[in-house]
Symmetry: D2
Subunit: 140 residues, 4 copies
């Protein structure tokens, strides 16, 4: 699927539309197949013991697949998350960022579906996986 936005475009979009959280995220890579987003882990993402919280991982997966949809639709679209299933499989490593690799499985007229795998930076075994569905508004 052709890309309509660059990583810089996506970051500018995040800054404009989600100013409260945009500093938490960085785009590590964007190809036609995969978008990789980084969560710059800070104190506000941690639970006692130093592990990243579940809601922070949910937010990372949601931002990652959302940006993967946007990269293909362009910034005019206003996709809305309608469903997420997420599995927490391992405890994230302390003191490192989280890396989220996302793939779009479907980009239809009214629904988009994408997968996300989340890793502790530098480690091979995924800490979480998620699938997200977005409703795409008709006027585009």
């Amino acid at each position: 699927m052709e890309l309509k936005m660059t990583p810089d475009d996506l970051c500018a979009f995040l800054d404009r539309e989600f100013p409260q959280v945009s500093a938490d995220f960085a785009i590590d890579a964007l190809t036609e197949d995969q978008l990789t987003v980084r969560l710059r882990v800070g104190d506000r993402h941690l639970r006692p013991g130093g592990t990243v919280s579940g809601p922070s991982m949910f937010a990372l997966a949601d931002v990652g697949v959302y940006l993967a949809v946007l990269a293909r639709l362009g910034p005019v679209a206003l996709a809305v998350t309608t469903n997420c299933s997420i599995d927490f499989m391992r405890k994230p490593a302390a003191g490192v960022d989280l890396i989220c690799r996302t793939k779009l499985l479907k980009l239809g007229r009214s629904l988009a579906v994408g997968d996300a795998l989340i890793y502790s930076d530098g480690l091979d075994a995924p800490v979480a996986r998620a699938t997200l569905t977005y409703a795409i508004p008709p006027a585009r």
Copy 2:
């Protein structure tokens, strides 16, 4: 299922174990069948336009079912969220708290499963639903 903790016990547990977020939540009601948790909506939970963010709703459902499990196991248990499926069905109303009603469907030796329905305070149609699974450690 018998209750081993009161709402006050659960709030004290949240304050001690999750001090970063405990002020966000209040327990509205606890019976043998249902635990109701309130998200005291503040600026940090909002997206532009004034609607509560998806990660905030995820956090509310997770805290709600987690507390429902704890209320029956007592404070020694250390349950870990392993899975969540969540559907976002309507836009939350602006300027009101979110109310989360949770029910435990299973409390086994190693797994607990619970449902959560989230409402804008005072409205009848649910804004989101979620099901969460927790792994319960063997030593209890």
Copy 3:
């Protein structure tokens, strides 16, 4: 939500559209709030040991919520299942039917969401729960 079909209408619809499986199901009750469907358990639904198979429980939840959608839209609609999350919580009792109680949580213009709880006939603890989403085609 107003009902546009009776239990007899729904059974006739199943017989016409899904003749391979319609004999497996019976409608026990239909109100504005809830539709209850029965799986008439036969050998083809069983795993060795006499327990009902996972795919049979999936089919029951899918039929149940699908009929709950149809009862409100009328028989012209052609809803398509887009997502299901299902938790298998207990082993079904041997030698009894399964009862599925469904509730619609959302009936929008393009998406419907419903919950299903599945019980062994006569027992109180649910054997499975599921949430299903349907895409509703625009022309209706």
Copy 4:
């Protein structure tokens, strides 16, 4: 993860434990990373119009990830499906088998998690995706 069973071992296991359905499935490939299972589509898997039914796709994903777990644990284990989330994304092509590619994401002491992507044989766009969780009994 090391393999403890061959494709022939897995087929023999299916024949012995699930004789009602084992003829529906064939193992196309097994490596340390991926297990590929084929649904030999027959009339009993079809809905009117010739498309494969949802429960048949659910069964395919469940068998695929289950066999991927068994291949690593050996035939003594008795894993039980506890959760499945499945997205139906496209209509399967008529008159061809379905191919399911599965990957294990976690094989812990008590829980296993795996992903499944389902394709119409010969086509590139997936018709469905699923994630399944299995509880693994303690005695092994």
